[in-house]
C-alpha cells in the first residue's frame, strides 16, 4: 500500500513537473535563439509578464484560449521589438535595456491590471487537459504524461522544431554565425541586424507564450509579478543547457521538478521543514546550477556585444 502511495505521489509529481516546466521551456528556448545570435535579453521576466497579461486580457474579453495565446506571443514580440530597436539599431547596452524592460513590464501590467481587472475578481476559462486515448489509461504514466493540456504537449513540438531550425536550416546556421562571428557573416553578405532582429523576435514571442501559459494554462488569473523570477531562472536554464534547445527542455523539467516538489511538500502536513525553505528551493537550485556548470565554454563568443559595421 505504501509503495502504491509513493508511486501515485511520483506520478502526480512528474505530471506537475512537466506543467511547471512549460513556461521555462518556452522562455529558455526563446532565449537560446536570441543568445545564439549574440543578444543577451535579461528583459525576459518583463516580457513574460507582458505575455501573461496580454493572454489574460484577451481571454477575458473573448473567452478564447487560442486568441489569448496569440495575444501573449504578440505582446512578447512588441516588447522584443523595443528591445531589438534599442540594442541592435542604436546599439545600447543590452543589460541596461533589459533592466528597463523588466521595470516597464512589471509596471505596465500591474498598472493596467489594477485599473481594469483587479476589482472584477473574475477568472478566465483555461486550456483543459486532453486525455490521450488508451495512453492516458495506463497506470501512473497515464496520469503523469498523457492528461495534460495542449500547451504542455506543444513543448515537445517546439523543442524539436527549435533544434531543427537551429541546426538543420541555413537560417539557423547563419543565426549562429551571427553570434559567433558577425563580421564573417557580414562579409558573406548576410544582414547581421536582420538576423538579430528575427532572433530576438522569436525569443520574445516564445517568452510571451511562456508567460501566457501561466494565465491560460495554469492558474486562471493574472497576479502582479505572476512570473516570480521565471524569466531570470530561464537565463540560468540556458547556461545549464549549454545553449541547446533539447538540453533546455530537460533542464527546465528539472526546475519544474523543484517547483512541483515545493508545492506538493507544502501540501503535506507531516513535513516539518518550514515552507519558506521549499519556496526558496528553485532559487537556490538556480545558483547551485550556475556553480556546477561553470565556465562559458559553449557560450556564443559575441554574446552581449553590439555589432558595428564600421
Amino acid at each position: 500500500m505504501d509503495d502504491m502511495m509513493l508511486l501515485t505521489f511520483l506520478a502526480t509529481l512528474a505530471g506537475a513537473a512537466w506543467r511547471l516546466a512549460t513556461p521555462l521551456i518556452f522562455a529558455s528556448i526563446g532565449e537560446i535563439f536570441s543568445e545564439r545570435a549574440g543578444v543577451l535579453n535579461i528583459g525576459l521576466e518583463g516580457t513574460m509578464l507582458v505575455g501573461a497579461f496580454c493572454g489574460f486580457a484577451t481571454a477575458f474579453a473573448t473567452d478564447s484560449v487560442l486568441l489569448g495565446l496569440i495575444a501573449g506571443i504578440a505582446g512578447g514580440m512588441v516588447f522584443g521589438l523595443i528591445f531589438a530597436f534599442f540594442t541592435i539599431t542604436i546599439k545600447a547596452d543590452q543589460i541596461v535595456v533589459g533592466a528597463a524592460l523588466n521595470l516597464l513590464g512589471l509596471g505596465l501590467t500591474a498598472f493596467l491590471f489594477r485599473t481594469y481587472y483587479v476589482s472584477t475578481g473574475k477568472g478566465i476559462e483555461i486550456a483543459q487537459p486532453i486525455n490521450i486515448p488508451w495512453l492516458s489509461d495506463l497506470p501512473f504514466i497515464g496520469e503523469a504524461f498523457f492528461r495534460q493540456n495542449l500547451i504542455v504537449y506543444s513543448t515537445i513540438l517546439v523543442t524539436i522544431l527549435a533544434a531543427l531550425v537551429l541546426y538543420r536550416t541555413s537560417f539557423g546556421l547563419t543565426l549562429r554565425a551571427v553570434g559567433e562571428h558577425p563580421r564573417a557573416a557580414d562579409v558573406a553578405g548576410r544582414n547581421v541586424a536582420a538576423y538579430r532582429y528575427s532572433a530576438v523576435l522569436v525569443g520574445t514571442g516564445l517568452a510571451g507564450l511562456g508567460g501566457a501559459f501561466l494565465t491560460l494554462g495554469h492558474s486562471n488569473q493574472f497576479v502582479e509579478g505572476i512570473t516570480s523570477g521565471r524569466g531570470f531562472i530561464a537565463l540560468a536554464v540556458v547556461v545549464f543547457a549549454r545553449w541547446s534547445p533539447i538540453g533546455a527542455f530537460f533542464v527546465s523539467l528539472l526546475f519544474g521538478l523543484f517547483y512541483a516538489l515545493q508545492l506538493m511538500l507544502q501540501a503535506q502536513a507531516s513535513i516539518v521543514v518550514p515552507y519558506q525553505l521549499l519556496q526558496a528551493l528553485p532559487y537556490i537550485m538556480t545558483i547551485i546550477t550556475l556553480v556546477v556548470v561553470r565556465g562559458k565554454g559553449a557560450a556564443p563568443s559575441k554574446l552581449g556585444q553590439p555589432y558595428d559595421m564600421r
Binding site: 535579461i42 523595443i82 534599442f86 542604436i90 546599439k91 545600447a92 547596452d93 543589460i95 541596461v96 535595456v97 533592466a99 528597463a100 524592460l101 523588466n102 521595470l103 516597464l104 512589471l106 509596471g107 505596465l108 500591474a110 498598472f111 493596467l112 489594477r114 485599473t115 502582479e224 516570480s228 523570477g229 531570470f232 531562472i233 537565463l235 540560468a236 547556461v239 518550514p274 519558506q276 525553505l277 519556496q279 526558496a280 532559487y283 537556490i284 538556480t286 545558483i287 550556475l290 556553480v291 561553470r294 565556465g295 562559458k296
Partner: protein, 363 residues
C-alpha cells in the same frame, strides 16, 4: 576662426577658462538626464490620459503635489535616503562592469542584521548602539553581495542571475524570520520585536520622521565619488570595468577589484536596509522595502554612474515615488505608474546618450 579663438583665450585668465569649460560640460551632461525625465513624464501623462485619468496630474500632483510643507519635503528626503545610498553604491559596481541587480536582497539582509543587533545588546548608549546597527547592516549587505562576487570570480557564475536569485532568497528568509524565530510573540501580524530605543537612528527634528540617514547618504555618496575619481583603487576599479584584460596586463588584480566593487555596493544597500528598520519602522516586517533596490538601479543609470549625481537622481526618484502615492490617494491612479516612469527614464537616458554621441561624431 582659429585666431579669434586664440585671441579670446588670452583675454580670460586660466582659472576662469577652466571654470567656463567645467560649467559648459556640466550643462551638456545635465541636458541628457533632464530630457530623459521629461520624456518619461510625458509618457506617464499619455498613459494616464489613454486610460481615462487626468494626464496633467503627472506634473501638478506628482511633482508639485509632494512639496506642500516641510513635512512632505521631509518625507521625500526619507525616501531619498535608501535611493541615494543604493544608487551611489551601484554606481561603483556598474563602473566596474559588475551588474549587481541584487540591491533589494542586500537591503533585506542588512535590515535583518540591523534588527538582530538592535533588538539585543541591551544597556549600550545611543552613541554606540545606533552606529553599531548601521555597521551591522552594511556588513551583512556586503557579505550577501560578496556571495555573488565570490561565485563570479571563482566559478564565473553570472552575477546578474545570482544576485537576482539572492534577492528572492533574502526576501523569503525575511518572511521566515518574522513569522518564525524573530516573530514578536505578542503580535498577531508577522513582525519582529521593536528595536531598543538606543538603537534607533536619531531624528533630525524630533517631530518629523526624517533621520540622520539622509546626511550619511549624502556624505557617503560624496566619499564614493572621491574614491572613484581620485584614489588609485577607484582608478583600478574603473579600468577593470572598461577592460579587464588591460587591467590584468597592467598588473591589477581583477578578482580583488570585482570583489571590492560588489561589496561596496552591497554595503550601501545593507546600510539602507538598516536605516529602514532603525530609522523608519523600528521593527522588521516582511515587505520592508517597496522596491528601493530595483529603483536604485534606475537612480545609478540616470546619474550616469556618478555617485555625486546619484544624490540628485535619488532625490528626483523619491519625489516621483512620493508623488505617485499622492496621485493614488487623490485620483485613484495605481501607484505602480512610478515603475513605468522609471523604465522609460532608463530607456530615454540610453537613447539620448546615443543621440549625443552621434551628434558629436557629426560635429
Amino acid at each position: 576662426m582659429e585666431q579669434v579663438n586664440q585671441g579670446r583665450e588670452n583675454v580670460y585668465p586660466q582659472a576662469a577658462q577652466a571654470f567656463y569649460r567645467t560649467l559648459s560640460q556640466a550643462a551638456i551632461s545635465a541636458a541628457t538626464p533632464i530630457a530623459a525625465v521629461l520624456v518619461a513624464l510625458a509618457f506617464g501623462a499619455a498613459l494616464l490620459w489613454v486610460n481615462g485619468f487626468n494626464g496633467s496630474d503627472v506634473v501638478t500632483v506628482m511633482i508639485f503635489g509632494s512639496f506642500q510643507d516641510m513635512r512632505s519635503v521631509g518625507e521625500i528626503l526619507l525616501k531619498a535616503t535608501p535611493l541615494i545610498l543604493i544608487g551611489a553604491g551601484l554606481c561603483v559596481a556598474f563602473r566596474c562592469s559588475i551588474w549587481n541587480i541584487g540591491a533589494e536582497g542586500q537591503l533585506y539582509v542588512g535590515a535583518i542584521a540591523a534588527t538582530l543587533v538592535g533588538t539585543n545588546l541591551e544597556g549600550l548608549s545611543v552613541w554606540v548602539h545606533a552606529p553599531l546597527v548601521m555597521l551591522a547592516g552594511a556588513v551583512a549587505g556586503a557579505a550577501w553581495a560578496g556571495i555573488a562576487g565570490y561565485l563570479k570570480v571563482r566559478f564565473q557564475a553570472s552575477e546578474i542571475v545570482t544576485t537576482i536569485m539572492l534577492n528572492y532568497i533574502a526576501i523569503i528568509l525575511t518572511s521566515y524570520l518574522v513569522t518564525g524565530p524573530m516573530k514578536d510573540a505578542s503580535a498577531a501580524y508577522p513582525q519582529s520585536a521593536r528595536l531598543l530605543r538606543e538603537a534607533w537612528t536619531p531624528r533630525i527634528v524630533s517631530d518629523m520622521r526624517l533621520h540622520i540617514g539622509i546626511l550619511v547618504a549624502v556624505v557617503l555618496a560624496v566619499a564614493l565619488y572621491i574614491f572613484l575619481q581620485k584614489s588609485s583603487r577607484g582608478f583600478a576599479l574603473r579600468v577593470v570595468g572598461l577592460n579587464p584584460h588591460a587591467a590584468r596586463y597592467a598588473g591589477m588584480n581583477v578578482k580583488r577589484n570585482v570583489m571590492i566593487a560588489i561589496c561596496i555596493s552591497g554595503a550601501m544597500a545593507g546600510l539602507a536596509g538598516a536605516f529602514e528598520v532603525a530609522g523608519v519602522t523600528h521593527r522588521l516586517y516582511q515587505n520592508i522595502s517597496p522596491g528601493y533596490g530595483f529603483e536604485g538601479i534606475a537612480v545609478a543609470l540616470l546619474a550616469n554612474n556618478n555617485p555625486l549625481a546619484a544624490i540628485i537622481s535619488g532625490g528626483l526618484f523619491a519625489t516621483l515615488r512620493s508623488g505617485s502615492e499622492v496621485l493614488q490617494i487623490t485620483s485613484q491612479v495605481p501607484q505602480v505608474l512610478v515603475l513605468v516612469i522609471q523604465g522609460i527614464v532608463i530607456l530615454s537616458v540610453v537613447a539620448f546618450a546615443k543621440l549625443r554621441d552621434t551628434l558629436r561624431i557629426v560635429a
